[in-house]
Structure formats: C-alpha cells, structure tokens
C-alpha cells in the first residue's frame, strides 16, 4: 500500500482537488494507494505514515519532508496527464515495487 498525502493551505480546497484526481489516477494505474489530504500546518504529523507528499509550489517550499518521503510539486492540478506523469516518475524512482 502506497501512502500519498496531498497538502495545501487550509486542507480544504486545493488538497481535496488533488486527493480526488490522484485517487482516480491510482485506480487507473492499478496501484493500491491510500490518499489523504491536510493543511500545511498538519503535514508534519502525517509524515510517519506517508510515502509521497504532493503539493503546489507555494507549499513545497514550506514543508519539511523527511529523506524517506518523496516530494512532488504540481502547478496545474487539473491536468490529469501531467499529475499522472509526475506521480508515475516518482513511484518508478522511489517505490518501483509498487508499480506492477
């Protein structure tokens, strides 16, 4: 199970959008994933249960991500192809065993 955390300012708007689109991307790819969303302030407490953090450029600068967690930064959140490519590249690099 891959654990993905979507982060934005208040954990309601942007991160929810990411959560929804990532869930559908993971389904399509057949990757088992647990997708959560939270605010930047809450992000640290989620790190122990997170493999990949995905967020926008504003927040990626502000979140301290441990070395075992991959950080993905997306600018266009509704471009599903782009988000998919970013995620697939990261999974291939850091968690290749999850992509079957």
């Amino acid at each position: 199970m891959l654990k993905i955390l979507c982060v934005c300012g208040n954990g309601m708007g942007t991160s929810t959008i990411l959560k929804v689109s990532i869930k559908s991307i993971m389904n399509k790819l057949g990757v088992k994933a647990e997708v959560e969303s939270c605010s930047a302030g809450e992000a640290m407490s989620f790190m122990p249960q997170t493999d990949i953090v995905i967020t926008t450029p504003e927040w990626s600068k502000m979140i301290n991500v441990p070395s075992n967690v991959a950080l993905v930064t997306a600018t266009n959140l509704i471009d599903a192809k782009n988000v998919e490519t970013l995620l697939v590249d990261t999974i291939k690099e850091k968690f290749p065993e999850k992509l079957k």
Partner: protein, 147 residues
C-alpha cells in the same frame, strides 16, 4: 450534488468586469451571497488569507478557486462560477486568470462530494477551453449539467 446546486440556484456569471484580483474575488463572493450561501464579508476573509498565504488556489492556467476557512461568513456549502471579460493577475505562475470558481465550504468532509464532482468535470480534456467559448451562463450551466 453539484448538478442540483447549479440547476436550482443562480450561481454562474459570464463576462464579469473586474479591475483586479480583489475585485474579481468580490464578484465571485457576491454571486454566492445573492443566493444566500455566504455573507458578503467572506470576500474580506479570502482577500486577507490571500495576502497572508499567497494565491495558492490558482490551481491551473487561468483558473482560480478562491476560498477561505469555514467560520468567516459561510452559511452553506456551495460554489459560484464566473468568467471574466478581461483576465486579472493573481501574481501566480498560472496567471492570467479568467475563470473563478469560488468555494464556500463548511468542513472538509461535507464538501468532498461536491469537490469530487467538480474535479471530475474540470479534468475532462478541453473543458476549460470550451468554457471560455461560452457566451451565456446557460451555455456554461449546460456544460456542467450534461454527463
């Protein structure tokens, strides 16, 4: 839920004139306020939050989803859709912005359903470009209502 919302309320405006991003945010909130989803002061809360945290809700080229945390004048969950006559700058990589979908949300779980529907519509290929071609709110409404 999103379809019912857009069918039963007047939440869409086309060709809105806004002189800057703050003005655009106010117009988006006004549409929500006219249908009693928020109090007009919700606009101040979004503007304040934007000045503090940046316009991180500009989530795609030309598209902003202004919103703020729950307590600041939100009455019920909803959203308004406005397209601008002339785009405005939010000082974000995805500038200039000509579509604003202003969100009023009570908490993150109740609006998940609405957001899921919204995202699944927006991620359709060419949806945004087709939206920009709409000349009336009825055309936009139809785009959102059809499956």
């Amino acid at each position: 839920m999103l379809k019912e919302l857009l069918r039963d309320h007047e939440l869409i405006e086309v060709g809105v004139e806004a002189k800057d991003w703050k003005d655009a945010v106010k117009h988006g909130v006004e549409v929500l306020a006219n249908e009693d989803f928020v109090e007009i002061k919700y606009a101040d809360s979004i503007i304040e939050s934007t000045l503090t945290n940046g316009p991180y809700y500009v989530i795609a080229p030309g598209l902003a989803l202004p919103h703020s945390s729950a307590e600041d004048g939100v009455k019920k969950i909803g959203l308004s859709i406005i397209t601008l006559k002339e785009p405005v700058e939010f000082n974000h990589e995805n500038d200039p912005v000509d579509i604003l979908i202003t969100l009023s949300a009570k908490d993150r779980n109740t609006h998940l359903e609405m957001m899921t529907e919204l995202v699944n519509i927006l991620i359709q290929e060419d949806f945004m470009d087709n939206m920009r071609k709409c000349k009336s709110k009825e055309e936009i409404r139809e785009m959102f209502l059809k499956d």
